[in-house]
Symmetry: C2
Subunit: 450 residues, 2 copies
């Protein structure tokens, strides 16, 4: 907080007392300016939450003789000027450097690419760069906030790509929601990139956009909200089944959520041999008898639930071995899990509030996973997308196939050794340094042997 | 050169002798592989030119028992994987870092921007980032090579932006030449950027694209091939006039070249008080009586040459104080300068071969400048665009106005002190560290006082 205090020998003491009484821990106090009648002071304190931070600010503002001018916090300060910068890969210090990186030397490199377009992947940033493309229509839990407000998330995604797999990723936030315009814009910018990561584009437009771009472009196009989630879910499920000693071909899986992630999870589970899957939307189980289904729900209804199970989510859970939630908060209670088969596996992935309370779920389930960082078994897409693109770029792949995704899942699952496997450790932590290289290696091999 | 040599005790000696006889200086010899019948050798040598490098390669290829496999050079090696990478501005090492740079902390930053869009310029890379946009239709001396082949130049431009003014610049190479598609694509990607630098887009489309984008966007749009050139030309001319003791309002200027650069030079000279300018295209002086002129030539014809001078370039030079060439090679001979006024100033900027031979021109002219790095008085856009965008970004300018461009030119001219000014030193060298800050400062002031 930047405060302006009336000059008074006890002014600062009153402020520090007020903050302390409100439960804040002061970590720094700096006099910024000393004027005749006023002191300008920067006070830094730790708070337990954003609500608590507001309480501390209010406590100070309530004091006579104190004005609160600007309030910031670590997160906002970290974001000043954005989280990315561009760095030359070779220094430019002399005329000689200039004549190679720029004119006249660069002209020969341009001519080489003009003569042989495939050389772009060797001689330019196309070798290592992925575009992170959004229209800002489905950002985190915030929904349709638009391209400018989505940019901090896309910058963060780029930070993750670089940190975990040395992939250069650049934010592309498009000021349109029209699928034709999105597809055309990505086509137009594609020469610079070796891959496209679609992010936070709302269903059902995301399916159409991904499908059309995969058809048009000769570089991989991957909607992480769908396939990143699916890869990590498959890896976690592979390991959970090892824990409960069941096989993919034998299990009944119930999925809550028929959006982007739900469709992709079904496809990858079926690629790995799952044969009995039922998907529920808000109205209950999807089956061919249901009317008024949109395109992806129609696909789901005709590719799953061969037994035409009907009914709500609770009924559908009867006898199921696995529940995967990719929907919203609190759709079931812990007791609802009682009807599942023995040793049920529960992945409740809605963020920030899962489909079922995890602690409660653990009373009924053998293995529980969520998307939360403060719970064991966090299903986090960052375990997949960096390695997937690293492998695809290194293979100079033109597409990310189902085989490459399953290979990624197997490699991710394999980073948990047999003697480490445990109901509360079915998936590695995000900072496990083995993950991205193992995933990249497997994806590259799968690409090169396709 | 990567060579495969028949194993023979004299094999390497024959190679080194051949290279030496052809005038190459060998700087390194590395055995890469030693096979039963063959040696794989990497030989590195210095050559005087690309032609000479080819001669060295031919000399080795001609040897019995030697095969030349791959030939590269420093420039190509520098370009492997491109010349740029993305760097996070803060390290990501712990869960705590992750929770601020990504979920959940980043959501609050997104919400702040959603509530107040102007905050994007504070809290994201929009603060410091410029898009370098091309369609690859007018690249250096290579012409229409397309977006992929143009990418090395755009990467180089980004290296210059960062090196000289700490501006983050990102290549946008568009796979279209349609002005409607170019304008719409830039509009769609604009949320990420604080400015747009148009580059290597052919005339006359470049005029329309720049004009339409300046009207649509609330960030500066600047076609460097036009205005960067114009700014540096004005700065150099201001100093050249100091050398020959003439005033802008009194001089007659003849310009060869009615393309993008020519139009921009006319506008900036007129903004600074020049009153007597004649522009020549291939057919001679532009005047309102000429027929069949395109839009920019029509503008030039009606805004210059009030005396309706007609005739070819040579005749037009009679009595002129200044000749500025922004056209092609060898349009005049040194002797043609004889008809100019006393102490003529000659800027022959066609690259790589100027309108007139510089050494010859110096016999007739008081001050000679070219675009070449191996001549004194190099007119190089890198003296302008980094500082111009630095100043515009810092002022959070919405546009780059004529005032800002003239301010840039004055600041650039001013970096040559009175006691340094000399016929062969009218413009600073590109590595002069004063230039970009001085230009940025002047541009920012001009923007903030508009």
């Amino acid at each position: 907080m930047r405060l302006v205090l009336r000059t008074d020998p006890q002014a600062i003491g009153h402020v520090t007392t007020a903050v302390g009484n409100a439960g804040g821990a002061i970590t720094a106090l700096d006099i910024v300016e000393s004027r005749k009648d006023q002191l300008v002071v920067d006070l830094t304190a730790s708070a337990g939450s954003t609500k608590h931070a507001d309480q501390l600010t209010d406590a100070v503002a309530a004091l006579d003789g104190a004005e609160v001018h600007k309030v910031s916090d670590r997160t906002f300060l970290l974001h000043l000027g954005g989280k990315l910068e561009i760095a030359p890969t070779a220094p430019l210090r002399t005329r000689d450097d200039l004549s190679m990186a720029y004119t006249p030397g660069v002209a020969r490199v341009c001519r080489a690419i003009a003569d042989n377009p495939a050389d772009a992947r060797r001689l330019t940033i196309k070798r290592n760069t992925v575009a992170v493309v959004t229209d800002g229509s489905a950002v985190l839990g915030l929904g349709d906030i638009g391209p400018s407000a989505a940019l901090p998330v896309m910058e963060g995604k780029a930070v993750l790509f670089k940190t975990f797999a040395d992939v250069d990723a650049w934010p592309v936030c498009l000021d349109t929601k029209d699928p034709d315009e999105i597809v055309r814009a990505v086509e137009l910018i594609a020469p610079v990139y070796g891959g496209i990561n679609l992010e936070d584009i709302a269903a059902p437009r995301c399916f159409e956009v991904e499908e059309r771009l995969r058809a048009k472009l000769d570089i991989p196009v991957f909607h992480d909200d769908q396939h990143g989630t699916a890869i990590v879910v498959l890896a976690a499920l592979m390991n959970a089944l090892r824990v409960v000693d069941k096989r993919m071909a034998d299990i009944r899986v119930v999925i809550s959520g028929a959006g982007a992630a739900g469709v992709a999870v079904v496809k990858i589970l079926q690629a790995e041999g799952a044969r009995d899957i039922v998907v529920c939307d808000r109205k209950g189980a999807l089956h061919p008898g249901r009317e008024g289904l949109d395109e992806s729900k129609t696909w789901l209804a005709s590719h799953t639930n061969q037994k035409w199970t009907a009914g709500g989510l609770r009924e559908t859970l009867a006898g199921a071995d696995v529940f995967i939630g990719v929907s919203g908060p609190d759709v079931i209670q812990p007791e609802d899990l009682r009807v599942m088969a023995h040793d049920p596996v529960v992945f409740a992935l809605a963020n920030p509030d899962p489909e079922v309370n995890p602690a409660g779920a653990r009373e009924y389930a053998a293995v529980v996973a969520t998307g939360r960082s403060d719970e064991p078994n966090q299903i986090n897409n960052v375990l997949a997308f960096p390695g997937v693109f690293r492998g695809a770029l290194d293979a100079q792949a033109r597409d990310i196939t189902e085989e490459m995704k399953v290979a990624a899942a197997r490699a991710l699952a394999g980073t948990v050794a047999d003697d480490e496997l445990h109901p509360e450790y079915i998936i590695p932590g995000v900072f496990n340094a083995e993950v991205a290289p193992a995933v990249a290696h497997a994806v590259r091999n799968a690409a090169e042997h396709d």
